[in-house]
């Protein structure tokens, strides 16, 4: 019963907090650019606005285009249920295997890329092609740090990994741990579609990657996809924050109290906002990379992940 309650609570938290996080990042960027920037609540207002609008469907599209927003949203939502965000004993955390999480993201992306091709415009196709290429080369760099963590914990279940690290205390922060974190952080930028890899704010047809696939969407469907993108960003942050710095998370070892949950919520919010601000600072201090420079960056992150793995194996002795 407790697990069910916690799962629902975690889902509601994710649904409610994800747009706010995007708002905070936008605000931070505005602050560093000496602008006032949109209100923190703007993402919610946008979602509300989209929900009220008429949905326009292209005459060339098929049912793939129509079901994609739902498949995308639900796949991301399942990840939100299986990931250890506030607690490690959610109802579905037993199946929260790292491969399930990564491949659910891949399932969502697969459908979105198909939808990008469906309307028959060159922009959607271009965006699909680029998104799939970038995510494909990001995959090994994404997986290797996760493997290192899984091997260290003796399980590929994310909740299991988080509990292992949480119980390890400060000694868990080895050089291997930190290198692995930085490697995953770089991939996190790619997965959340931020500068220097993609620009979430652009609507210039030739430079956008992710936004290009949403170009033909409107109304309720756009609302769903936009919310899903907010949530995905939060989930990537959760992966980064909780896998490497899980302290504060509610785990069964500590016993359950309401205060535990409160601390967990606050701790996670603080970690996510902190990561978001770092991302914002990176975004305002860099220019977007040329598309074909991205592999170099991801290669670097892969090599860092490899170093992390090697030092983990050597240090373990």
């Amino acid at each position: 019963m407790l697990a069910v309650g916690l799962t629902i609570l975690q889902m509601l938290f994710v649904l409610g907090f994800a747009p706010l996080l995007s708002g905070i990042i936008k605000k931070t960027k505005a602050f560093f650019q000496s602008r006032r920037g949109p209100s923190l609540l703007q993402p919610y207002r946008d979602l509300y606005k989209y929900l009220q609008k008429e949905t326009v469907l292209s005459e060339h599209t098929s049912w793939i285009f129509r079901i994609t927003p739902y498949v995308y949203f639900v796949a991301i939502l399942i990840v939100a249920l299986t990931l250890p965000i506030l607690t490690t004993f959610g109802m579905l955390s037993f199946t929260g295997d790292l491969f399930i999480v990564i491949y659910l993201f891949a399932l969502a992306r697969f459908f979105l890329a198909l939808a990008g091709l469906d309307a028959g415009s060159a922009f959607g196709g271009m965006a699909s092609s680029r998104e799939m290429a970038v995510s494909a080369i990001a995959e090994p760099a994404l997986m290797l740090p996760l493997f290192t963590m899984a091997i260290a914990a003796g399980t590929s279940n994310l909740s299991g990994i988080v509990e292992q690290v949480a119980q390890g205390g400060w000694p868990a922060l080895t050089s291997a741990h930190l290198m692995t974190f930085v490697a995953l952080f770089v991939v996190g930028i790619a997965e959340t579609g931020r500068i220097p890899i993609d620009n979430p704010d652009t609507h210039l047809e030739l430079t956008m990657i992710h936004e290009g696939m949403l170009l033909e969407y409107s109304g309720k469907q756009l609302a769903l996809l936009t919310l899903a993108v907010h949530i995905k960003q939060l989930l990537i942050f959760a992966l980064l924050a909780n896998l490497f710095f899980p302290w504060g998370i509610a785990s069964p070892a500590a016993g359950f109290q309401v205060s535990t949950l409160l601390i967990a919520t606050l701790a996670f919010a603080a970690k996510a906002v902190g990561l978001g601000m770092v991302m914002a600072v990176i975004e305002i201090s860099m220019a977007k990379m040329r598309l074909f420079k991205i592999p170099d960056l991801l290669m670097g992150s892969f090599l860092l992940g490899l170093l992390g793995l090697i030092s983990h194996v050597l240090l373990r002795g």
Binding site: L51, E54, V71, L77, F99, S135
Partner: protein, 679 residues
């Protein structure tokens, strides 16, 4: 009882072939009879495979062969053979139904009696090959399989490309067979018998060097048939050339008989070997998987694309086998079981989704008369069911949950992760996850490739008049595809059913059952004991995931409908104010361009642009673009080898003057030398 079922399988195939051939004067009847018998035998084969796998018994025949020297067992169906019979039968069940509709396009153009004969013989050879109890039978049926499939590859023999593809295929396959012959003759010499049972008793005590020799011979021999890189060159030529139902069988099943042979010799006869065998196989697998999927991305002939994906998937299977061999070499049977289950499960899954995709390609060809993806588009609206089944196949092969490809790749990932955490050498602990990353890249590139394959063919507007006029294919073809699509989903959400069936196989091969370690009904739950005090465990619940996904989509749909306002309007795609034409759509070539550029040092793309100017250098009259990927292995490996071969043959011609006296002289000299040597 079960042995009768086995004879029924063989008998139906033999009769089906003969009846189809004798009825060649009435093509429509010949077609129906030929494929009906194949269908009947497939049903019998499925039942046979499941019975043996559930009971775990071994069935054999033998008495009549006492008079043949070195052979006591004619056929011997142990759980391993039964599993492969099941794979062959399941695929041929669906493909035979598909063929009823598909083969009609050959009526009046080709001899359907020959098709029915070769098709049935091909299936017969494959079933008999995996059921062979001795090496002699194995080789006989292996050769029958090669010849029957050659006949099927060149079925459309009026096309010179097809004849050329057939030539490459038959040459390559015989080079492979040569190595297998050698390996079996050496084993015969050591064991004094052709029986696999007998060889297995001696095989484990053979000296290490001898074992390694056998291992390398079978790796090359079976590797040629399986299409591992760099022995794959026949595969992307032969598979597209054959009729699509045959491609489905070749890619889905025939390649797997090579995996069967490899497992039979390396595990059953040799009992595994040193750990470096595993590292070798793992590396071969990783290279095949990565290069296979990269080359696949560069193809825009749908069947060539699928053929390269077979190279990729054989690579993934070999990665599982390689991990298993490493653990076997370290004497850790429980872990070897995990790798074996991953590999064998992927054998089954690849057979299902690849046959499904090849049938889909056949259906598209049936409807549009082309295999060129650049000419298709918008087919989902014209062929809704074919499109749906092709989508299921695409999701499965891209290893996305909740379909079957995901589960077997997940098991492969797990065996590589265990390689990273088991108490082996430090080098292997690092190599395991790195191979895992290679597998991750493979999986992600496969997803790119199938977004391309499905998106370009089925979505947006038709790119040619042929595609615009396409019609849904006959019902029998849809049923054939539908069966495999259901199996893809079924095995994806109930993987434990396959684990259950594999239990006697792993018990037989490594002495460790798959159920006790992977267990569960609704979920897979590997509990891998690494050391007494250290274990590795994780869980996935594909069924739960599927239910949540399905209900989630329905729930979200209702909620959003309830929350939202405003209706739905159909309007045109935004195109900067211009009218949209199919020429503006992204093509298969342009879709793969980022990948082509990112991996340009591996793929070595070639690009020729010829511009013809009308006036000065500003007004272009015509523009010609040519792009291709360098056929690296053909240029580096095969062409020089071919040149050397031709040169040597040229020199040999000096010996052949045509004079009978000289030839008699040769005979005499040879005889004298032999007599001296024999003395």
């Amino acid at each position: 009882m079960t042995i009768l079922l086995f004879y029924l399988v063989l008998g139906l195939l033999l009769l089906g072939g003969l009846f189809a051939y004798s009825l060649q004067g009435k093509p429509r009847l010949s077609l129906r009879v030929g494929f009906s018998f194949a269908l009947g035998s497939a049903v019998a084969g499925t039942v046979l495979g499941i019975i043996i796998l559930l009971t775990g018994d071994t069935v054999y025949t033998g008495a009549g062969f006492a008079s043949l020297p070195g052979m006591n067992r004619a056929f011997l169906i142990d759980p391993l053979a039964a599993f492969f019979i099941l794979v062959i039968s399941l695929v041929s069940l669906a493909v035979s139904i598909f063929s009823f509709g598909y083969a009609e396009e050959y009526i009046g153009r080709h001899n359907l009696g020959i098709l029915g004969l070769l098709y049935n013989l091909f299936l017969l050879a494959m079933v008999a090959l995996v059921a062979s109890g001795n090496a002699f039978f194995f080789l006989f049926f292996w050769e029958l399989m090669s010849l029957a499939s050659y006949g099927l590859v060149v079925y459309d023999h009026r096309d010179s490309h097809v004849r050329r593809a057939g030539f490459v295929y038959i040459v390559m396959t015989h080079i492979g067979t040569l190595f297998i012959f050698l390996a079996f003759l050496l084993l015969y010499q050591a064991a004094g018998s052709f029986d696999f049972e007998h060889m297995a008793q001696f095989g484990r005590q053979l000296p290490a060097g001898f074992k390694t020799g056998i291992f390398l011979l079978v790796t090359v021999g079976f590797g040629t048939k399986a299409g591992i890189i760099p022995l794959h060159i026949w595969l992307p030529k032969a598979h597209p050339a054959a009729p699509s139902n045959v491609s489905a069988l070749m890619s889905g099943v025939m390649l797997k008989t090579a995996i069967y042979g490899f497992i039979r010799v390396v595990w059953d006869v040799l009992g595994g070997g040193s750990a470096w065998w595993g590292i070798f196989i793992l590396s071969l697998g990783a290279v095949s998987a990565l290069l296979g999927v990269m080359y696949a991305l560069m193809q825009h002939d749908i069947k060539e694309l699928l053929a390269y994906h077979s190279v990729e998937n054989i690579g993934i299977i070999l990665m599982g086998l390689g991990a298993a061999l490493i653990f076997q070499g370290y004497g850790l049977p429980a872990l070897a079981m995990l790798g074996l289950v991953a590999a064998l499960f992927h054998v089954l899954n690849h057979a299902l989704f690849k046959a499904l995709l090849f049938m889909g390609a056949g259906a598209i060809h049936h409807a549009t008369r082309t295999r060129d993806m650049e000419k298709m588009g918008g087919l989902l609206k014209l062929m809704p069911w074919t499109g749906f089944f092709f989508l299921v196949g695409s999701i499965s092969i891209a290893a996305l949950p909740p379909f079957n490809g995901f589960v077997s790749e997940w098991l492969t990932f797990q065996s590589l992760l265990v390689l990273g955490s088991a108490p082996l050498s430090l080098k292997l602990n690092i190599l395991g996850p790195v191979f895992g990353a290679a597998l991750a890249l493979t999986g992600a590139l496969a997803a790119v490739c199938f977004v391309k394959a499905f998106g370009i063919q089925f979505l947006a507007q038709p790119r040619s008049t042929q595609a615009a006029k396409a019609k849904e294919v006959p019902r029998s073809m849809l049923i054939g595809m539908g069966i495999l699509a259901v199996l893809c989903l079924g095995l994806g959400i109930f993987p434990s059913s396959a684990i259950q069936l594999l239990n006697p196989v792993t018990l037989h091969l490594v002495g460790y059952g798959s159920v006790q370690a992977l267990g569960g009904y609704a979920w897979l739950n590997p509990q891998i004991p690494l050391l007494p005090n250290l274990s590795y465990h994780t869980t996935i619940a594909p069924f739960v995931l599927f239910v949540v996904l399905a209900f989630g989509v329905l729930l979200v749909y209702r909620v959003v409908k309830w929350l939202g306002h405003g209706g739905t309007r159909i309007d045109e795609t935004w195109n900067c104010g211009g009218t949209l034409s199919p020429k503006m759509e992204y093509t298969a070539t342009s879709f793969a361009k980022p990948i082509r550029i990112i991996f340009r040092r591996i793929l070595l793309p070639k690009r020729v642009v010829e511009t013809e100017y009308a006036l000065g250098s500003h007004f272009t009259r015509s523009l010609k673009y040519e792009g291709a990927v360098k056929p690296f292995f053909e240029d580096i490996l095969y062409r020089p080898a071919q040149n050397v071969f031709l040169k040597v043959s040229g020199k040999m011609r000096l010996l052949q003057s045509g004079s009978i006296h000289l030839y008699l002289g040769y005979l005499f000299i040879t005889l004298v030398i032999l007599l001296i040597w024999a003395k």
